[in-house]
């Protein structure tokens, strides 16, 4: 298992990997008020998003706590495709319907699930462009098909929508085709397996790759008590948007503005061989009396073949102000792990690898 994950991680970072991402929730949104509706349910801004452009969006519940995230693409002025977390797909569709039917029935917009209709194949890695160029008529040059854009074209003789978005931090194309054609496209890609070292990878590898980039998984790195700011995602919150979007009011409460809230940080264990246990409790002073004062917990933890060591994401009280400090994880068997608080972005903080 560990060997397989390490092999798959290296394949993506060095050449190109492929993931079946079809389970991702997909919601087709049509109507003249679609853009306005998005601005009310997401924390960030949608007014200026142009046609064929993609944007990451963060959704809060009315209590200001993060409930879902995903990339939404503007396909036409009155047409958007929203993606949701896999597990959140049905719940988010209900959430949109609830707010539309009970609060804003005057907005002209329809939501329809297209999760099962589109098959999604994610090809990611430095060789992704060369691989895709073998079987598509879409101009893939970096000038004409930029990061966070969408294109329509033929892939292996199948009409496709290709999204240039990335959950691994590498150059990535998400190929979407009508699901009945998925195996045909998959096989066409694998005709070039040896040329590019194309390697299928699974969800566990996806988890490692995204954590190296500090990309959160809602429900793993969040638990319904985490605000966008707790995640260090202030850049994704539009406080000056004209409409009071869901969660805005709650985010102005004194409790959600506290400096000592649990905040997302990275952890590097002092012993590079240690892979911390997810869920492990974090203390600042390991010598204190039991019961110790719990200051946070590990949310995601893996061994990174790229970094050559274990690494973790964690929620730590006041963590954003504690960079470089040591924290401790006392385990049930009496051992105590030590780790340093670091940025949650372990790899390529400027995003240069995905922007080539």
């Amino acid at each position: 298992m560990h060997e397989a994950v390490a092999r798959e991680c290296s394949a993506v970072r060095e050449r190109v990997g492929i993931l079946d991402a079809s389970t991702l929730g997909k919601i087709d949104i049509q109507g003249k008020d679609a853009r306005e509706f998005l601005a009310r349910v997401y924390t960030n801004k949608w007014a200026q998003l142009g046609i064929n452009k993609c944007r990451y969006g963060l959704m809060c519940k009315d209590d200001g706590m993060v409930m879902d995230d995903g990339v939404t693409t503007c396909l036409g002025d009155n047409h958007f495709l929203m993606t949701t977390t896999t597990g959140g797909a049905a719940g988010i569709l209900e959430w949109l319907e609830l707010w539309h039917q009970t609060e804003w029935p005057e907005l002209e917009v329809y939501f329809n699930s297209v999760t099962d209709h589109w098959a999604t194949m994610t090809i990611t890695g430095p060789s992704a462009r060369d691989l895709l160029s073998e079987i598509t008529d879409i101009d893939l040059s970096k000038e004409s098909f930029k990061f966070m854009e969408c294109r329509e074209g033929m892939v292996a003789d199948v009409p496709a929508r290709v999204y240039r978005i990335s959950f691994t931090g590498e150059l990535t194309y998400e190929i979407n085709v009508q699901a009945n054609y998925a195996m045909h496209v998959w096989k066409a890609l694998f005709e070039h397996e040896e040329t590019y070292g194309l390697t299928p990878y699974g969800t566990e590898t996806m988890h490692v790759l995204r954590a190296e980039k500090g990309f959160i998984i809602v429900g793993q790195d969040t638990d319904g008590s985490v605000t966008p700011e707790d995640l260090g995602m202030q850049w994704c919150v539009g406080y000056d948007k004209p409409f009071s979007w869901i969660g805005k009011r709650a985010l102005s409460r004194p409790d959600t503005r506290r400096k000592d809230r649990k905040q997302l940080v990275g952890l590097l264990p002092t012993d590079p061989k240690v892979v911390l246990e997810e869920g492990a409790q974090i203390v600042f002073d390991p010598k204190q009396q039991v019961p110790m004062k719990m200051k946070g917990h590990v949310t995601s933890s893996y061994y990174s073949p790229t970094l050559g060591q274990g690494f973790a994401l964690a929620l730590v009280m006041g963590g954003a102000e504690r960079m470089g400090e040591k924290v401790y994880m006392p385990m049930a068997d009496g051992t105590v792990h030590e780790a340093e608080i670091v940025s949650p972005i372990f790899l390529d903080p400027k995003g240069e690898r995905q922007n080539v």
Binding site: D28, G76, D77, H117, Q178, Y181, H184
Partner: protein
């Protein structure tokens, strides 16, 4: 039209399409089957949204599809000439099923007839359709769903989206002797295997 991105998602000949049940193989022509199960693969499916109280919307749908918009809950209308149907799903939502490969032209026909606030979405890759016939077809459904499929409650021309074997499915009764099940792609394998298993005691013919 530029406000909504519509494109023909059908690949040409030479591209092998695979239904969600491509991997399952069955037994054709059992001696005295009580249940006959067939898949009608690769049909075209569109979700239609709009306001049934708007006469222009209703007229536009009928003009485009050659059959009236069902306004009664759970109603199923069919166009036998075209081999197509439209089914009530919710007060502002219908499922249009057309012959495979005609979903794009059907969507364009709807879009040219309709105006104002409506939506059409191609969902043809998202599900497949199974037909159940034979003397015990209704018995198998009795075992599989809590919905009452007795003819007094489920006449010809009715269609419901309901629980099926703890998953979800659409159950339709297009004619006296035939039931239709529309199952989501991700549930198709499970629902199919459930049906085969539930039909064993009656003798089953499936492919």
């Amino acid at each position: 039209m530029s406000n909504v991105a519509v494109f023909d998602q059908n690949a040409g000949m030479g591209v092998l399409a695979e239904s969600p049940l491509v991997h399952v193989k069955g037994v054709k022509g059992s001696q005295t089957p009580g249940v006959v199960i067939r898949e009608k693969a690769f049909l075209g499916y569109l979700t239609l949204r709009g306001n049934a109280a708007d006469a222009a919307f209703c007229a536009g749908v009928e003009q485009a599809l050659g059959m009236p918009l069902p306004k009664q809950p759970l109603a199923l209308n069919q166009n036998e000439q075209k081999g197509s149907s439209i089914q009530w799903l919710s007060p502002d939502e219908w499922l249009v099923v057309v012959q495979g490969g005609t979903e794009y032209e059907t969507e364009m026909a709807l879009r040219s007839e309709l105006s104002g606030h409506f939506a059409v979405v191609n969902i043809s890759g998202g599900q497949t359709l199974l037909t159940l016939s034979g003397s015990a077809a209704q018995e198998v459904l009795h075992k599989s769903t809590v919905y009452d499929v007795h003819p007094r409650n489920f006449p010809v021309g009715k269609a419901v989206a309901t629980n099926f074997a703890k998953a979800t499915a659409i159950i339709r009764r297009p004619s006296e002797g035939t039931w239709e099940l529309i199952v989501r792609r991700s549930f198709a394998d499970y629902c199919y295997r459930w049906l085969i298993d539930a039909s064993q005691e009656f003798g089953v013919d499936y492919e």
